[in-house]
Symmetry: C2
Subunit: 341 residues, 2 copies
DNA sequence: CTGAAAGCGCTAACAA
DNA sequence: TTGTTAGCGCTTTCAG
C-alpha cells in the first residue's frame, strides 16, 4: 500500500473475512489469595507456561487471549464458552474445567490440556512425565543416601500430577526391600499446607523421625523446611526433604531444595504447537505427549554441593510417535461455522 | 434465541459490528533467559500485574490479549502496531517501548503506561509511589537503627523506578546530619548483579563496612545477601540490607528481607480501570496516578521479628483528583475508524 | 494485471 | 412488538 504512514488493518474485520482469528486462548487458574500466600502450583507454574506459549505463538504471528478461572466455579463455564467464540483454539490447564464440560468445549473448538492426566480421552494432552521424575528422585534418596523410611506429603486427591507422583513413589518403594512409606499427609500444594504436614509428622514421630520427606511439590517442601527449621530439626542431617517442580524459591531455601525440574516453558511451547497443528488438521487423533523431567540435586537430599548435578530422567519422546512432521503453518479454515453444537 | 443448545456468537463478527472489540492488550517484557535466572523485575512483577488486570477486565466481560516484547527490539514495533489493530486499548509496561514510538501508538489507541515515569506526557500513567516508599525505608534505617553510612545498589540508568528511588534516598540522606552514601554500584535489577555489587563493595571496603546496603530492588538485595553470606559477613549484625518490591522469595531469604511492598495487583487493576475510562471518554486529560507503597519490616534491617510490622507510607490519593466518578461501563465507540494515523 | 463486488456473521437501525 | 436490511472493514473472487 502507498500508505506506510500508519495504516493498521482492523483485526476483527480480518478475522471475519479470513474465517480465522489467529488468536488462541489460554485458560489457567485464578490466584485466589491476595498476594504472596501461594495457594497452589499455579502461581509460578502457569506464569512460566504462559511465556512458552506466547513465544511459540509469536513465531506464527498469532495472539494470545488469556483468562483465569476459579477452579470449581460453575458460572465460569459461560465465560469459557464465550471465550471459545473469540479464539481458534484453547489451551486449558489441568483440573480447571471438569471433564464433561471439557468435552463440550472440545466439541466446538480444538483443545489441548496442559499438565493433564495421561488418560484424558477427549482432548490432546501435553504434560511432564511425572512418573519417571518422581521415580528417579526417590531412587536417588534410597540408593544414594540409603533413606528407607519415607514420609509422603501428597497433593489434593483431584490433582492428576499428585496421583502420578504418588504412584511412582509407591512403585519404587515396593521395588526396594527394607524400604517403606511410614506416614503421609494430604496437602493442597501450598507452602502453608507443607508446614502443617511437617507439624503433623512431628506430632506423631517426633522421636522417631523418618529418613526423608517426599513432597508432591516444591511449595509444600518449602513449607516443610520452614516448619522443620522452627522445630530445630536440621536438614538434611536429621531428615532429608525433596520437592517437585523446581520453582525459583527452591534455589533460595535453606538448604537448597533437591527436586525434579518440570520443563514448564517447554510445556507451553509443545502444547501450543500441538494446538496449532490441530487447528490446521482438526481430524487429528487426540494424543498424549509426555515431556522429560530432570533431576535437580541440591543439598536437601543429603548431597553436598560438590556432588550436585542435573540429569534428564526421561527420554524426549511422545507417548506415541508423532503422526507426521509438524505442519505448523496453519491452513484449513472453512469449518461449518458457529451454529454448531 | 431458541437455541440454548450451544450457540456461541462469533467474536470477530460481534467486534466488527459493534465497532468495539472488548479486548485490551497488555504489553510486558519478554523473559530473556531460559529459566530461573531472573533478569529483571519483570518476572514476578508483571505476572502479578497481569492478574490484577485480568480481574478488573473480567468484571466488564472484556478479554485480555497479551504480548511480550524484548526491550530494545526494533522489529517489535511492528508487532505493537498490529496489536493495536486488535484491541480497544493498550496497557504498556514502563521502558518497553521508547517514548517516541509510544507517542505514535498512543495516537492510534488509548494507552496507559504501567510503572511509568511520573513525568510521562503522552499517555496515562499508573505507578507505585517509589519516592515515599524509598524515603520511608531509608528513614527507618537511619532513625530506628542509626545506620548512617549507606551503600547504594542502583538499577539501570534507563529505569525510572530506579531513578525515583535514588532521588528519594539522596534526599533523605541529605536531610540527616552525619549520614552519607559512601559508595554505590549500578546493577541491572538481577540477583546476579546484586552479587557483583556486594563483591565490588567488599573489594573496596572489606575492612570498613558501611552500615547498610540499600538496593533498588529485591532481586539485587537477595544477590547481595547471598554474596555476603559466602563472604562470612552476617546480616544484620555486620551490615543491614534492604530491597524494594516485596517479591515472594524475599520472605524466604536468610535473614528475611526488609523491603517496600509495591501493590502490583492493584497497579494492574487501577491501570485497567483507567484504560477503560479512557476508552469510554477518549478526550480525558492524560493523568498520573501514584499508588501507596507499604514498608515491610522483616529482619535484614536489624529489626527482630517481634518489632516487625507493615505500614502504609503513602496516602491513597491520585496526583491530581479524579476528574469524575468512574464511568466504567464503557460507552462511546464510533471513532473515525482504523484509517487514522 | 488492475478494479469492482460479494460475502464473512453479526448488530442496529428501520419498516411493517 | 417482530421482521427485514444495511452496513462493520477486510479478503477473495471474478470480471474487465
Amino acid at each position: 500500500m502507498i500508505e506506510q504512514l500508519g495504516y493498521v488493518p482492523d483485526g476483527a474485520a480480518q478475522s471475519l473475512s479470513r474465517r480465522r482469528k489467529e488468536i488462541i486462548g489460554l485458560v489457567s487458574v485464578e490466584r485466589v489469595s491476595p498476594q504472596f500466600d501461594i495457594e497452589n502450583m499455579s502461581l509460578l507454574f502457569y506464569d512460566e507456561v504462559l511465556h512458552g506459549v506466547e513465544g511459540r505463538l509469536r513465531e506464527h504471528g498469532w495472539s494470545l487471549l488469556i483468562t483465569f478461572l476459579k477452579c470449581g466455579d460453575l458460572v465460569s463455564f459461560d465465560r469459557l464458552l464465550s471465550l471459545s467464540g473469540k479464539v481458534d483454539g484453547l489451551l486449558i490447564g489441568e483440573g480447571i474445567v471438569p471433564s464433561p464440560l471439557l468435552a463440550r468445549v472440545a466439541m466446538r473448538v480444538p483443545v489441548v490440556v496442559i499438565a493433564g492426566a495421561p488418560d484424558e480421552k477427549v482432548a490432546d494432552v501435553v504434560a511432564a512425565d511425572n512418573r519417571s521424575g518422581s521415580a528417579a528422585l526417590v531412587r536417588h534418596l534410597i540408593e544414594e543416601h540409603d533413606r528407607r523410611s519415607l514420609f509422603h506429603v501428597d497433593g489434593p486427591p483431584t490433582a492428576p500430577d499428585a496421583r502420578e507422583r504418588r504412584l511412582a513413589i509407591e512403585q519404587v518403594v515396593a521395588a526396594h526391600p527394607r524400604t517403606q512409606i511410614v506416614g503421609s499427609y494430604r496437602g493442597i500444594f501450598s507452602a502453608e499446607s507443607g508446614e502443617r504436614a511437617a507439624e503433623a509428622m512431628l506430632a506423631e514421630r517426633r522421636h522417631h523421625l523418618p529418613d526423608a520427606v517426599v513432597c508432591a511439590n516444591d511449595q509444600m517442601a518449602i513449607g516443610v523446611l520452614q516448619a522443620l527449621s522452627r522445630a530445630g530439626i536440621s536438614v538434611p542431617e536429621h531428615i532429608a526433604v525433596v520437592g517437585f517442580d523446581d520453582i525459583y524459591p527452591g534455589n533460595l531455601s535453606d538448604p537448597p531444595l533437591t527436586t525434579v525440574h518440570q520443563p514448564m516453558r517447554l510445556l507451553g511451547e509443545r502444547a501450543c504447537s500441538r494446538l496449532l497443528d490441530r487447528i490446521a488438521q482438526p481430524d487429528l487423533q487426540p494424543r498424549v505427549e509426555l515431556l522429560p523431567t530432570e533431576l535437580v540435586i541440591r543439598a536437601s537430599c543429603g548431597c553436598t554441593p560438590a556432588s550436585a548435578r542435573r540429569s534428564v530422567v526421561t527420554p524426549l519422546a511422545a507417548a506415541r510417535p508423532r503422526r507426521r512432521a509438524i505442519p505448523s503453518v496453519v491452513k484449513p479454515a472453512r469449518r461449518p461455522a458457529g451454529k454448531a453444537r
